[in-house]
Symmetry: C2
Subunit: 351 residues, 2 copies
Amino acid sequence: SLTPCFTKHQHLRYNPLRDTWVLVSAHRMKRPWAGQVEKPPEEHVPRHDPHNPLCPGNTRANGEINPDYDSTFLFENDFPALQPDAPDPGSGQHPLFQSRAARGVCKVMCFHPWSDVTLPLMKKEEVVKVIDKWAELVEELGSTYPWVQIFENKGAMMGCSNPHPHCQVWASNFLPNEPALSDRCQRAFHQKHGEPLLLQYAKQEAEKKERVVVETSDWLAVVPYWATWPYQTLLLPRRHVLRINDLTAEEREGLADIMRRLLTKYDNLFEISFPYSMGWHGAPTGPHLTEDNSHWQLHAHYYPPLLRSATVKKFMVGYEMLAQEQRDLTPEQAAEKLRNLSEEHYKTRDN
Amino acid sequence: SLTPCFTKHQHLRYNPLRDTWVLVSAHRMKRPWAGQVEKPPEEHVPRHDPHNPLCPGNTRANGEINPDYDSTFLFENDFPALQPDAPDPGSGQHPLFQSRAARGVCKVMCFHPWSDVTLPLMKKEEVVKVIDKWAELVEELGSTYPWVQIFENKGAMMGCSNPHPHCQVWASNFLPNEPALSDRCQRAFHQKHGEPLLLQYAKQEAEKKERVVVETSDWLAVVPYWATWPYQTLLLPRRHVLRINDLTAEEREGLADIMRRLLTKYDNLFEISFPYSMGWHGAPTGPHLTEDNSHWQLHAHYYPPLLRSATVKKFMVGYEMLAQEQRDLTPEQAAEKLRNLSEEHYKTRDN
Ligand SMILES: O=P(O)(O)O[C@H]1O[C@H](CO)[C@@H](O)[C@H](O)[C@H]1O
Ligand SMILES: O=P(O)(O)O[C@H]1O[C@H](CO)[C@@H](O)[C@H](O)[C@H]1O
């Protein structure tokens, strides 16, 4: 096996979902850090804050009053990046000055009525309700929009401006860059190898084991071979599933279970509420519903920024922005660390 | 003109250097910000700090003593991501588990013996020395390495861990993702339109004027039509130049002049030493020196993170990482703001 040398010598690894390479320089972890330290996340969030626009019964920016919700709660983003009615900027333009209409909707979804819980601290049946709502939204918005992006920015470090547990769902009349690229890569692989890329990948990883973080009979969470963020993970079903709304009731229970286990490990890594951005990628929708999308496999990406501790993150800056992503520990080292962490949350939910 | 509607309605713009789109939602600037605020950069950096490993005469991590340098100073990064001698991880691999050898060198270059100056506060002849050194390095390392990435991470917010004015130069035995993509895009444009992409672009922008920030007879600094970072700029010569070492002495003087003017505006925007990551892209080197690279045009990208003030940055997180980049003001608004700022630095160099 080549693994031992990978921890000593820098090398490149190929990301088949993006057709790019990542520079892995594991020996860089030895470098001392004298740069910016982050503020660790707030440990004591009040269960209900009368001034938090996301809590039940409170008033939002637009004057609307939230219902006294007791499960998930969905509303339109008060400052949406996408609105349904933007005009077309017109066509017939210069190749270097091209613009296109962008239309869509932006929704916010609270996971729970309490501000002091997060997904790993929620009960399994409460997480299932979140998954059901995700599926419902993809079904509903996906009936017309070609892409429905479910994503969660967790923690102030990831630009999240409200501690209440929530995610966002942005649907658009266009296929954004990242899913368009992933679509091309998965299609090309399928055509060449006769099997969906991520199905073959899941099988290989389940056999190799060295990058697996958590697995169940239906689901797999791995640090992908091509991970760029230090503790990045890829979460996917073992069965061929195109979209989140195709998951069976049993698979949704399994997903709630593996999400709670994975996120508990994340929180236990540095004993803080672990910041990340995560999101779901599944086969495109709207006009693509009638096309053959069998090259697709549903999956979630977790991109957490922390590298060394609760306060030192990986900076994806100069070299990464201008040349190529670079990481400071191997995916195998990250997977091993996560795998060995307890599945008992360092903090117990207080209820 | 469509410009007025662009500030009210979200739309997509095409980036011809990356073959991607950016979502422009100018109305998002109205959204209140309750999220993370950054620590503003340190205003009072001592001119010489006996404990700073970048200052003249001091000892570095590896025990080496810096010379008493009085201009630029170059040394090998003590914790390099790329080393010249890494072994080949071997070939004949599974398509989903591909790795490649990565070899190279990482250098650090101090701009000036003083820690309390930055490029816009340096004298023009001092900046010319930096440019000459950049050119020398591209010439030297580029004689064998296919890519030489010059980049500057400025400010703690951009992962810079030392306030002493410096940049880095990483040379590699591979063409990294970003220049490889830019190479493909420029080549395709040149083949189709018979003119280098960025030469045509510079001409168009010099005529349109609305995105120009600073211009001289030889150089142009614009907020590109497809800018993703709030105050991103593109700096390029008007003449067809492939690489930084092809610049004439006069063009290097002109570059020192426009850099000082652009960076003074940046600093004046929020009256702080403006954080950014910047870097140079020119035609590939090493084995590519003997190929036709006439589709290339030398240029620098400046990627500054700040959005609203000295302490509120743009977070490129969930939607941006998983779907597509999104910006909150139009490139024209950003260009106008920068253009109207004084070219007199808010802080005068104290010497
Ligand atoms: O080499 P430095 O300055 O210590 O490190 C900085 O720049 C590198 C290149 O962009 C990044 O990989 C690091 O994350 C960042 O902290
Ligand atoms: O909509 P929010 O949570 O206010 O905003 C956050 O997520 C968005 C989508 O990733 C980003 O564009 C913003 O920069 C970030 O602060």
